[in-house]
């Protein structure tokens, strides 16, 4: 990655620094509430989950859709970069921006479950899968934002990915090979866990590769 690309990535970090910091703090507050006991656990985790999902959506909208809508994209594209460079820089830069908050909040959630005495460690595999799903989910939103200039399409992507979180929690959480071990005193890393994780990683790789294969090759940039 060349110097200009690094500067443009640094630019995204600078412009979205308060969003990254604010979301990380909000998510950590959620985790602190969750640590207060079993009743508050659900409220805290809901705040944690909403924060990560909301952060991803707002980041993609601000950094890509709004850049296009507010015509700051013209300024960025007046710099010595190609369309392909722009797409690659956005994928790497916005993924890193998201990863910073996601990594802290995911590590916090996993640590919370591991250290809280009244929570079974059997929850850990599901928590790891949920964190992986949130990362894959963000990559879908990012991929959508890089491919469409239509607000309607982008809204559809956001609605679908948000619905997918609820579906994931209910469907994957209900898989007997995972659900049966949620209350276990020790985590069970069985084949179902690894299969779901593999699907999440595959989704992540596909959605992060698509912009390189499609959006970066566009000859017209509107």
């Amino acid at each position: 990655m060349n110097t200009l690309a690094r500067k443009l990535i640094a630019k995204d970090f600078y412009l979205h620094r308060w969003l990254i910091i604010g979301s990380t703090v909000a998510g950590l507050i959620g985790l602190l509430i969750a640590a207060e006991g079993k009743i508050r656990f659900n409220i805290g985790m809901l705040i944690w989950l909403t924060t990560i999902v909301g952060f991803g959506v707002v980041l993609a909208m601000f950094a890509i859709a709004n850049e296009r809508k507010e015509r700051t994209l013209q300024f960025v594209l007046s710099l010595p970069i190609s369309h392909g460079d722009y797409v690659r820089i956005k994928v790497v830069g916005l993924m890193l921006c998201f990863l910073l908050a996601w990594a802290i909040l995911s590590a916090g959630a996993v640590t919370l479950i591991a250290v809280m005495p009244n929570l079974p460690d059997g929850l850990l595999p599901f928590a790891v899968l949920l964190c992986g799903f949130l990362l894959a989910n963000y990559s879908v939103v990012l991929c959508g934002a890089l491919h469409t200039a239509s607000e309607g399409m982008m809204t559809l992507v956001i609605v679908v990915t948000n619905m997918a979180i609820t579906l994931f929690i209910f469907m994957v959480g209900a898989l007997p090979s995972l659900n049966d071990h949620l209350q276990a005193p020790a985590p069970v890393w069985n084949s179902t866990f690894w299969n779901v994780l593999a699907v999440e990683i595959a989704t992540l790789l596909v959605t992060l590769s698509l912009p390189y294969l499609v959006a970066a090759r566009r000859r017209d940039f509107n």
């Binding site: 300024f75 970069i81 190609s82 509107n222």
Partner: protein, 296 residues
């Protein structure tokens, strides 16, 4: 050794659903200011988007500073300063941050010149861009383009929305850029007064086609409006190079695009007045003549 042309467009075509830019050929030599003039929807912005690599031609070839566009746009844009009236800076960052950001990218950034422009444009670097007025915003974008000392400045309607004083200041800055003979400017506008003031070459474009391109002085010398009074019962013969003729009884007003003393002597003693035309009048007459010729 021949210098590389700063802009070369050869038989360029770019089609959209309701508009097509057709068969556009255009050259800009180093040291020139070209005014690209056309009514709204003529294709000025499309031409500029092709030149800045934002879109690719369907046919033909676009070269900027010798580089094929859009394929080699990253290299070409190292020496291009592009400003559009639609371009926006990041609202939540200060002008100082933008200056530092652009300076870190362009080795040719001139900090002294940037400071001079900040003073001349009465800008406040510590102010957030979101707090700038529209005129200040255009000045800020221009500052960022000018202070990097580009070899080619491409300006898409840069003075629209500016008050007369600000326009006057900016046009002065553009002239300043040209003190270096290796620099050039392509300047699109529908404001013919601005174009007439600073351009030394003018290209007229209308409905996706180039209709005329020449030196400014050449346009001003070639175009004349001639008032004639014909003798009673006389009829004016068909004349070459007459783009419009308005007859009111014995009085005829001719507009020619190839004025010469020979043309005048051919008209004889009936000539009452020969008027020079402003660029705006030439532009309108040119556009109407070409639309008529194309049956539009």
């Amino acid at each position: 050794m021949t210098q590389t042309k700063h802009i070369e467009m050869r038989k360029v075509r770019k089609g959209f659903r309701f508009f097509t830019l057709e068969d556009l050929s255009l050259d800009l030599e180093p040291g020139q200011i070209m005014g690209l003039v056309g009514p709204n929807g003529a294709g000025k912005s499309t031409t500029i988007r092709l030149l800045t690599g934002l879109i690719a031609p369907d046919a033909g070839e676009v070269r900027v500073l010798g580089h094929l566009m859009p394929d080699n746009q990253a290299i070409a844009k190292r020496d291009i300063g592009f400003v559009s009236d639609e371009m926006r800076l990041f609202g939540h960052a200060t002008l100082a941050w933008h200056m530092q950001f652009v300076a870190s990218i362009y080795p040719g950034w001139d900090p002294q010149y940037a400071k001079t422009l900040v003073r001349r444009f009465n800008l406040h670097p510590e102010q957030n861009v979101s707090g700038l007025s529209s005129g200040e915003h255009v000045k800020a974008v221009l500052l960022l383009a000018l202070a990097r000392r580009p070899r080619l400045l491409i300006l898409d309607e840069p003075t629209s929305g500016l008050d007369p004083v600000a326009r006057h200041e900016l046009l002065g800055e553009f002239m300043d850029v040209l003190r270096d003979e290796d620099r050039s400017i392509l300047f699109s506008s529908h404001n013919t007064v601005d174009v007439e003031r600073i351009s030394d070459r003018i290209t007229f474009i209308d409905r996706g086609r180039l209709i005329d391109s020449s030196d400014k002085e050449d346009f001003l010398e070639r175009w004349r409006r001639i008032q004639l009074q014909l003798p009673a019962g006389a009829k004016l013969p068909d004349l070459p190079h007459v783009v419009s003729r308005v007859v009111d009884g014995q009085f005829v007003t001719l507009t020619t695009n190839r004025f010469s003393p020979d043309f005048l002597s051919f008209l004889g003693s009936g000539v009452r007045e020969v008027q020079r035309m402003s660029l705006e009048e030439i532009f309108v007459a040119n556009v109407m003549h070409h639309r008529e010729a194309r049956g539009l």
